[in-house]
């Protein structure tokens, strides 16, 4: 006899999609009928019907919550307008803007609190209504709802905000809210409803689990049946720990994830601490031990808090104690600190470490908690070997497994993300594929982690992971410490030298190279090679270029600096590497995922009155053999002005690089870009010309091979 297997997708749907009220007896009934000869399509129909019935039942049970949420969200457009006014008017508005300018996280927190106030008021009103109706909600659930509301609201609000920004022109052309608050409340247009969505979702999500399931009003019941209905409410813990294996599994996964997040937070905070100027091996070892120790302790603390939480199903009766569980998870958490350090440096090593950590964590959990995730089940008849034939062939058809494909796709996607310098997606994808592989490949032991043997095994496993984790952390700390220090020094120097013109003299060539180790240069200055025979000085010795009476254009051969920096830097730091050359003669590329910013600066010995210059021509030499869209923008700066005011002359595309005209260049291509100069502007004269190179995605991480040849200033 051959055993038939139900459609796997339908099976998965039956297990995961119905609401929590659906018990396993339904699954068993469907399987029994299917084994009795029902078709695949019958099984699928039954699963769909079960899902629909479950969802509608779940919605019907919370009809009062749905109705209240809809009504409460009607005034949201008026509330948003009010929030806007609070943020921008009066003393509160001034305080808000000051906070935003000095400490933006504070302004974000204030905004979140303001928007959450609306949700909190609604939640309290809903609870008050239930109290008056005679079915008060439990305080723990109210507290949870109050906490959940802003947590749900924030991501939904961000998603709606991004979607609105993306599709504003297509969906909301000229969309405006009504003028008066009453009209705003009654506004049912798309924009008003889009604003209501985050509040509605947050309100429902926060109160979904808290709302009691009322009985049908059409059939009034006596006190006994009401007590029967609400009895589980008062003994949820016992029901969860005894009767809901799915809830137990979910909670164990949640505990491990909570520890993981805590370990990441601990590692991140440690990365923000100041680092010693001279790193010795002993100090690196000490710091690595602290990183790993804090990661483990933070993870254990996060899990323990949830383990002991009043809503935890493990609080009163668990299949094991916390210590062995923490030891098992800690073997994975020890890899979090080195991953965070590598991720902080945007190093691809973070993805590799994440993969190792995910594998260790999941395989440990899977192996040690098999009694939860894979409880022993009796072998079905007709499955496996027949009892009367020792060498008979298995009659069980191997199940089609999609996990292999999923792992392969994740690995390919992670590789693509690494190539594209997207470290964080690569971390997530590699960790996911390793976790999935560990889950499928690890054989559950079936022992309870209560046993002493399992505790000893977990401790040994942790000990074996700690040593390589500390070594990798030392490597991470030694390899990347310099990059952040240099960036920080550059930021400080930039802040100090913001209005200073002595930037040209401050960099000390070569000093950064000794300290930055594997990190490369934090910024770069290129000086063009001096001309062998320079008959004319580059800048005419006179008080003002293009003086009245000048008829011929002034030609200035470019002899300034090329700057290569990475955001958020705007100019090279004091330890920028300096070299002779042009972008054509050297290859410059980013060794991390931060785009390069390239610009060229030409100082003039004498200022040029803006009213005297009609146009500036920029002649470039293009040897870039990568098609793409590159533009040059021109900025004129009056260095003598108090705040070094600038005038933007717009941007011009480089035609010889544009993909429509592109061809492989065997010899350099010279191209001239013209920038008209307005007679008046924010400056009256200029003494510095800045050329900004605006690359496309293809040229973001490798400087284009384009050099500035000369400027030609035409008199007006």
């Amino acid at each position: 006899m051959r055993r038939r297997e139900p459609p796997p997708l339908a099976n998965w749907m039956l297990e995961h999609l119905p609401s929590g009220d659906c018990d396993e007896a339904l699954g068993g009934d469907l399987l029994e009928e299917f084994q009795a000869g029902r078709s695949d399509s019958w099984y699928r129909r039954q699963v769909l019907a079960a899902c629909l019935v479950s969802w509608t039942g779940s919605l019907r049970a919370r009809i009062s919550l749905l109705g209240f949420a809809l009504v409460w969200c009607l005034p949201v457009p008026a509330w948003m307008v009010l929030c806007e006014r609070i943020e921008h008017a009066g003393a509160v508005g001034r305080f808000w803007q000051m906070t935003e300018a000095r400490f933006w996280p504070g302004a974000v927190a204030m905004g979140l609190t303001l928007h959450s106030t609306f949700l909190w008021a609604g939640i309290l009103l809903f609870c008050l209504g239930h109290r008056f109706a005679g079915s008060p909600l439990r305080w723990e659930k109210i507290r949870r709802a109050l906490l959940l509301a802003p947590l749900i609201f924030t991501p939904v609000f961000l998603v709606v905000f991004v979607l609105l920004a993306l599709y504003w022109d297509a969906v909301f052309p000229n969309a405006l809210l009504a003028a008066s608050p009453l009209r705003q409340m009654a506004d049912l247009h798309l924009l008003a409803n889009a604003l209501r969505v985050p509040y509605f979702v947050a309100f429902l999500g926060a109160l979904w689990a808290a709302a009691p399931r009322p009985l049908r009003a059409s059939q009034p019941l006596d006190a006994e049946s009401v007590l029967t209905e609400f009895e589980p409410e008062f003994d949820t813990l016992a029901v969860l720990s005894n009767l809901a294996p799915f809830a137990l599994r979910r909670f164990l996964v949640f505990l491990a994830a909570a520890g993981l997040v805590n370990a990441m937070i601990g590692g991140y905070l440690l990365c923000r601490l100041p680092e010693p100027h001279s790193a010795t091996l002993a100090s690196l070892f000490l710091r690595a031990v602290v990183h790993v120790g804090v990661g483990v302790l933070a993870g254990a603390l996060g899990s323990w808090l949830y383990w002991k939480h009043p809503s935890s199903p493990l609080r009163d009766g668990s299949p094991g104690s916390f210590a062995p569980f923490a030891l098992i998870c800690a073997a994975g958490w020890v890899w979090v600190p080195p991953m965070v350090v590598f991720a902080d440096q945007l190093s691809a090593g973070a993805a590799l470490i994440a993969m190792i950590g995910a594998f260790v964590l999941v395989s440990g959990l899977r192996s040690a908690t098999g009694f939860v995730f894979s409880p022993a089940q009796p072998l079905p008849s007709g499955v496996g070997y027949e009892s009367d034939g020792l060498f008979q062939e298995s009659l069980q058809r191997p199940r089609a497994d999609a996990f292999g494909y999923l792992i392969a796709v994740s690995l390919y996607a992670a590789g693509a993300a690494l190539v594209a310098h997207s470290i964080f997606p690569a971390i997530a994808l590699l960790a996911f594929s390793a976790a999935l592989f560990a889950w499928k490949a690890t054989v559950p032991s079936g022992r309870s982690f209560e046993s002493l043997e399992e505790t000893r095994r977990a401790a040994l496993r942790l000990g074996l992971q700690v040593i390589p984790a500390i070594l990798v952390t030392i490597w991470a700390l030694a390899g990347g410490a310099g990059h952040r220090d240099l960036a920080a020094h550059a930021d400080e120097a930039n802040a100090v030298d913001e209005n200073s013109s002595s930037q040209k003299n401050s960099p000390k060539p070569g000093t950064g190279l000794a300290r930055n180790g594997l990190g490369g240069y934090e910024s770069l200055i290129l000086w063009p090679f001096p001309e062998k025979k320079q008959l004319l000085p580059p800048i005419l010795q006179q008080n003002s270029l293009l003086a009245p009476g000048t008829r011929e254009p002034v030609v200035l051969r470019f002899n300034g600096e090329y700057w290569f920096v990475q955001a958020p830097q705007k100019r090279p730091g004091p330890e920028a590497h300096q070299a002779s050359g042009t972008p054509i003669s050297v290859d410059i590329r980013a060794n991390n995922a931060v785009p390069l910013v390239m610009d060229a600066h030409q100082n003039l010995s004498a200022p040029v009155p803006l009213a005297r210059c009609r146009e500036i021509e920029v002649e470039i030499e293009n040897r870039d053999n990568k098609a793409g869209s590159i533009s040059l923008a021109l900025l004129l700066t009056d260095a003598a002005a108090p705040h070094k005011q600038t005038l933007y002359l717009g941007q011009q595309p480089i035609v010889s690089t544009d993909s429509t005209h592109f061809s492989i260049k065997q010899s350099p291509v010279f191209e001239t870009l013209r920038f008209p100069v307005p007679p008046t502007g924010s400056i009256r004269k200029f003494s510095e010309i800045t050329v900004l190179v605006l690359p496309d995605v293809e040229h973001m991480f490798a400087a284009p091979k384009i050099a500035i040849q000369q400027f030609k200033l035409f008199p007006r």
């Binding site: 007896a25 009934d29 029994e32 039954q46 079960a50 479950s54």
Partner: protein
């Protein structure tokens, strides 16, 4: 329980099926019983949803049986009618019968 609550059509059918099946009343035979008498298929999920409603009203009680291999190790959920459920079935039958008796012409046409 008050006398004002009456059973719906599907609920009455379910209660009658549970009474008829006796100790063997769980999802599969109940669904088969309904299909046999109604002449059309029934969703097992909706059977369970209705039975849960009836259980919440105290008209049926349920208990879990032993898991069996052909059900993938999942237990059966047996239902039995309660005294209140039986009373409501009788009450509904009484009301329906008396209502039918008030329509003599229609009854003659039927016979």
């Amino acid at each position: 329980m008050t006398d004002r609550s009456y059973l719906g059509e599907f609920e009455l059918m379910l209660l009658l099926a549970v009474i008829h099946l006796g100790d063997d009343a769980y999802g599969v035979p109940i669904s088969r019983e309904l299909e046999a008498h109604r002449g059309r298929s029934v969703a097992v999920g909706s059977v369970y949803a209705a039975l849960e409603r009836l259980e919440a009203k105290g008209l049926v009680a349920s208990s879990l049986g032993d898991p069996t291999p052909e059900r993938g190790g999942k237990a059966k959920r047996y239902f039995c009618i309660t005294k209140e459920g039986l009373r409501q079935v009788h009450e509904t039958r009484r009301v329906l019968t008396s209502l039918w008796e008030t329509i003599p012409d229609f009854r003659l046409q039927e016979s």
